[in-house]
């Protein structure tokens, strides 16, 4: 059996993963897969809008990863901790997928650390709206096959006490032990609400599809994990909010093709659309006779809460995130308190160390992204606000809803 370390071409890599996936699928079918035996998984990552293909090795080198080119845009990753073997496929210089068969308990940790240590790397954030669109757009409307939807809300700022120990930032600590069946990991010790809904796709569509009104209340606003039929309908794919994908199908090529399309045609197109709409800048325009004028370009991103946040929780959010520099949002800034309460912050997004301006009140958050700040900050904010503050928040990119922009992207495919 070829080892991932001996792969010398893209075709060889695909053959290797095809073969591996097929064997794992057999084990899954026989229910003989041991916990901790990794499935093929992909971690979708983003560099930056300005990244060039020649920058890739350097970006990963800064977090101690050695990339060896294998094929155009394909690298083998050496010297990872815990003998993790992995390959990186850059779909574009901006978006890539890290493939590995290592168990999630190992690979989640290693990928998370690399992203945390880098200001040039971020997760691809599959927000609730994106996950919702994936299972609805990519499955047959009349499908009688099953899908599983997981909704989550974490009361991170409710009743927060400064001495409380911080939880790790990662929201996905699931090991592969859950692959035996659809059971989900047990509740953790923090105030995390979870709802798993499993059903035939056509039934789920009528309950959760467009135009339907969710009967399950507040929690169903934030979809964080989807398990749905694979492209060839043999086995399933699983999508996580932090950009991890697991291949439980019988082959790899369809899985890779689907994730490539999702990355560039959906996520990439949406991010570009967002950046084009909201980037705050002074755009210089020169007329025919050399006269200059400057258009003040931009638009706010508005997060309108379905109910105002409890004022105490709002203050805790500001205190924890900005005064103490802690919590899951990883934002920096000195809060300028106004009456209301309202807070203005000329801040930084510490994931990418880029500027972000925030106008926050218990009723709504407004974010303004100065030119140069990456649009995926919006996806991350959306994912975090839905998870930690309000699963049903309405998100506007300029005057369009986030969902409408996403629909526009899918329609253009």
């Amino acid at each position: 059996m070829t080892d991932l370390a001996n792969i010398t071409s893209r075709e060889g890599l695909y053959n290797y993963f095809d073969d591996y996936t097929s064997r794992k699928k057999d084990e899954l079918n026989r229910r003989s897969l041991e916990p901790g035996q990794g499935l093929v998984k992909a971690y979708l990552v983003e560099t930056s809008a300005s990244a060039k293909s020649q920058d890739v090795q350097s970006i990963f080198h800064k977090v101690g990863w050695q990339l060896t080119p294998v094929d155009s845009g394909l690298y083998r990753i050496a010297n990872l901790p815990e003998d993790m073997q992995a390959a990186l496929e850059m779909i574009t210089p901006r978006y890539g997928a890290i493939y590995t068969t290592a168990p999630s308990t190992i690979s989640d940790k290693i990928v998370r650390k690399a992203i945390r240590d880098s200001v040039q790397l971020d997760n691809v954030w599959l927000t609730s709206a994106i996950l919702n669109s994936i299972w609805q757009e990519l499955t047959n409307p009349d499908a009688t096959r099953y899908a599983t939807l997981l909704y989550e809300k974490e009361a991170h700022f409710e009743g927060y006490h400064p001495t409380m120990q911080e939880e790790p930032l990662d929201e996905e600590n699931a090991s592969d032990s859950d692959i035996e069946d659809d059971d989900l990991e047990p509740y953790r010790e923090r105030p995390l609400s979870r709802l798993e809904v499993k059903g035939r796709i056509r039934e789920l569509r009528s309950r959760f599809g467009e135009g339907s009104r969710s009967p399950l209340g507040d929690l169903t606003g934030n979809l964080t994990r989807v398990r749905m039929p694979a492209a060839n309908e043999r086995g399933r794919y699983e999508f996580f909010a932090n950009g991890k994908l697991t291949d439980r199908g019988a082959e790899f090529r369809g899985f890779a093709a689907q994730l490539r399309s999702l990355l560039t045609d959906v996520y990439g197109a949406l991010t570009t659309l967002i950046e084009d709409t909201i980037s705050f800048s002074l755009e210089r325009q020169t007329g025919a006779i050399g006269r200059e004028r400057w258009a003040i370009r931009g638009a706010p991103v508005t997060f309108h809460f379905h109910e105002p946040l409890n004022e105490q929780d709002f203050r805790r959010f500001i205190e924890l995130t900005f005064e103490r520099g802690a919590g899951p949002f990883r934002l920096w800034g000195n809060p300028l308190w106004r009456s209301g309460p309202k807070v203005h912050i000329y801040g930084l997004d510490l994931h990418l160390w880029q500027q972000i301006y925030l106008d926050l009140s218990p009723k709504r958050f407004i974010a303004i992204l100065p030119e140069g700040t990456c649009g995926n900050t919006v996806h991350r904010l959306a994912a975090n606000i839905q998870r930690y503050l309000d699963p049903q928040v309405e998100i506007y990119i300029g005057d369009s809803t986030y969902q409408d922009l996403l629909k526009r992207v899918w329609k253009s495919l």
Binding site: W294, I296, P300, G325, H344, L348, Y357, G398, D399
Partner: protein, 351 residues
Amino acid sequence: MIDSSIVGHPLFQLNLMIFLCWPSPVADHLTINPVFYAAGYSLPFIEGDIPVPIRSYRALRNNGHHVNKIVQPDLLLEHSTTKLFLPLECKRSGSSAGPGQAMGLLTLNGTELKSIIGKSPQEEWTTIIAYLSVESNGGYLLGELSRLAGVLAGTGVAPADVASLELLYRADGVYLVSVPDSASLPDLDVRIATRVLALDPDEDPRPFYLIPYLSDQGAEADPVAEECFRESLRSAVLVLFGQLDDERHEYELDSVITKGIVAWPIWHSADRQKQIRGYVRKFIRDSFADLNKKLHVQCRIDNQKILLPAVTAEVALAVRDYMANAGFRHRTLGLSDPIQGTFEDVLSTED
């Protein structure tokens, strides 16, 4: 208790106008109601110097009238479907409006302004000069503008149309209304006061200050705006520390300042630019000294150049952790200190 005079501050008006022209949900309960955007007006422009047409300038001067040779409205909007220019001035009151600038603006009728801006000669454009002020001041301003327009017409120059808009502060928000006899704004009927900013009782009406400082053009002192200005610069400077990695980096001081003051490239006053550069240079130098002391990383600022050394991944991470750390914010470099004295004092005493 809210100080309702905030809405008269030109910075408040300028920043509010930007939001009213930017795309955002059109609904008056969602904080900002972007009425200009909804009515089809363009993004706001900041114009370069607009020369008053020579013929108009000479006609006025020859008749003993005061007129500026160069004018620059605070903002200029366009309404492309009706081919309208809307130069806009933000004023607290009638007394803060300079007659020379007003007279100059009034010479910019549609024919003159379309030629200056470079629109097609075949197109017919009109201009409405609008002054934005606060309750009870718009009537006086409209009277003055109409009087000056009459003077202009008396010298044989066709004046632009005029409009006066007022911002009204109320407990539930800020409203926009046009003063009676103002020229009608296409597709935007504000003869009846329209809420443009929804507020809770006792909520500070200030929108986020995208442009926190009005350069050198007679800005009123405003400690809140000054604080925004400093914070904006701080965030722009701190972006630098995220760039530390295994390569050397060199940045222009002005490119860093532009990240904090978006309008920096079009500031007029060289003296004021020099002061701001001095202020930012000192802040950067202090940050670098602190970093060297704490983590032995030697960054330099050499006149207009900022130089970052190559460091290991571990050091880069340590620097970012240190800068993001709450202790750095609260104890080092006075990043959370209240501003002592006026901003003018700060600028004139540093570097």
